[in-house]
């Protein structure tokens, strides 16, 4: 399933780039994502929780930055598994930044997510709706943090 969104934040492109590349600050904006730690060069490990009704998934994920062209383009891949649920998650993500004005940046992200295994039974419809909710919260958090925290650079 594909999840994508385009939104504008009131912050300069360099600051947005640094924010999104800092795994901890980025993870702070993804609901259910925690325990982010570096796993070698351009790679991170994290735990990601997702819940639909009584069913909870806890994915151990690894994120690899596959291609980066500062401060405008980032491609990453994500692989994760929840052994209890015998399920796997893979995602291929693209982030593009466009500087609209010195203090205004457009963020575009596109994520192609696949869930396999028992959780895959859940049907794409509900998962996509949930993913959209996660996406909306992500946008809100990114805007909130970038637009309220004073620049440290």
């Amino acid at each position: 399933m594909i999840v994508e969104e385009r939104f504008v934040v009131n912050a300069p492109v360099d600051r947005v780039w640094n924010f999104l590349l800092d795994a901890r600050s980025l993870a702070g904006c993804v609901p259910g994502c925690n325990h982010v730690e570096p796993a070698g060069e351009n790679a991170y490990r994290a735990l990601m929780k997702a819940k639909i009704g009584p069913i909870s998934a806890n994915f151990k994920i690894r994120i690899d930055i596959a291609e980066s062209n500062p401060p405008t383009f980032l491609r990453s891949t994500m692989r994760g598994e929840d052994s209890k649920m015998a399920s796997n998650l893979t995602a291929s993500n693209v982030i593009e930044l466009t500087s609209l004005e010195p203090e205004k940046t457009e963020i575009y992200y596109r994520s192609e997510v696949n869930v396999l295994g028992r959780l895959g039974k859940f049907g794409e419809g509900i998962m996509k709706r949930k993913a959209r909710e996660v996406g909306e919260q992500f946008v809100r958090s990114v805007k909130e943090r970038l637009e309220t925290t004073p620049s440290t650079s």
């Binding site: 009704g53 049907g123 794409e124 509900i126």
Partner: protein, 291 residues
């Protein structure tokens, strides 16, 4: 299914106390939904609290105030075969009959069906149309919640961990009333893609005295279409029904999946709402003539 403690409380109070103590317990009513989740290893509770050993939760009683009280442990089959339900709120008989197959209807309960909070479950739209309230009992107190406010998200409801749904209460309807539950599904036994319930009550002069409309399968929860209230205190016309049906479509946010696309679901909510309201009105008018 390993290491699950199975308990059989004898009273509601005992069941609530067990739930209050447990961190990860699940309530077992009929098991039609829960056992599927367990078998598919999608949930891992520490404890199963079986309500079937509690006496008195499977009654169907008209109260002196005219309410109909349905115990949460009534099986779909009990609802389907109940003469009092058939007489007072036939829409529930229709909803019960539309659920899966007889073996499943012999197993599943109305309380379980509601609490599982499947967005397209059959009872909720019919109960929303009837204006039902739910009696909820907890370890410290009891409360009632209108069914329209019971669902919070996909497969989620407002119950606290120590609370149990014990009874469904159907308020009295005007003397001349009719209801209709219509379901869109692939085969007779399959889960609803959409379910729409409509109830209409008329006064002596033929004006609308009550109108309720519920829609399942068209959002993350069953929906109460409050726009149906615009029918009240007027003679119902087909154009008014059309307006309510269009309002119902606007309130829907369905998903797309292999069974039906978002656009198709929305279109069909309009069609089913119009048909259900029209049939409910026809039945209500028939009762006026019979009297």
């Amino acid at each position: 299914m390993e290491n699950i403690e199975y308990v059989e409380p004898k009273t509601v109070r005992e069941a609530c106390a067990l739930l209050a103590k447990s961190e990860n317990a699940k309530v077992l009513a009929g098991g039609a939904s829960l056992v599927v989740l367990l078998k598919n290893k999608l949930i891992f509770p520490d404890q199963l609290v079986n309500l079937k050993t509690i006496a008195g939760l499977d009654r169907i009683d008209p109260s002196p105030e005219g309410e109909l009280r349905i115990g949460a442990l009534c099986r779909h089959r009990d609802i389907e075969n109940s003469p009092v339900i058939q007489e007072r709120c036939e829409i529930l008989t229709q909803a019960a009959l539309s659920i899966a197959s007889p073996p499943i209807r012999n197993m599943g309960t109305i309380g379980g069906n509601i609490c599982h909070a499947e967005p397209s479950a059959d009872f909720p739209p019919a109960l929303i149309a009837l204006g039902a309230t739910l009696k909820i009992t907890g370890s410290k107190q009891s409360r009632t919640v209108p069914i329209a406010e019971f669902f919070s998200d996909y497969y989620e409801n407002v119950l606290e961990p120590d609370e149990i749904l014990t009874e469904i209460r159907i308020p009295p309807l005007p003397s001349f009333s009719g209801g209709s539950y219509l379901k869109l599904n692939k085969t007779t036994n399959s889960v609803a893609i959409l379910g729409v319930g409509a109830v209409i009550g008329l006064d002596e002069s033929g004006n609308c005295a009550y109108a309720g409309l519920g829609v399942g399968g068209a959002a993350s929860t069953p929906l109460a279409i409050t726009d149906a209230a615009m029918l009240v205190e007027k003679p119902i016309t087909s154009s008014l029904i059309e307006t309510v049906a269009s309002a119902a479509v606007k309130r829907c946010e369905p998903i797309s999946n292999v069974h039906a696309t978002e656009t198709y679901r929305k279109e069909m909510v309009g069609v089913l709402a119009r048909r259900a309201l029209t049939r409910a009105l026809e039945k209500a008018e028939r009762t006026t003539k019979e009297s």
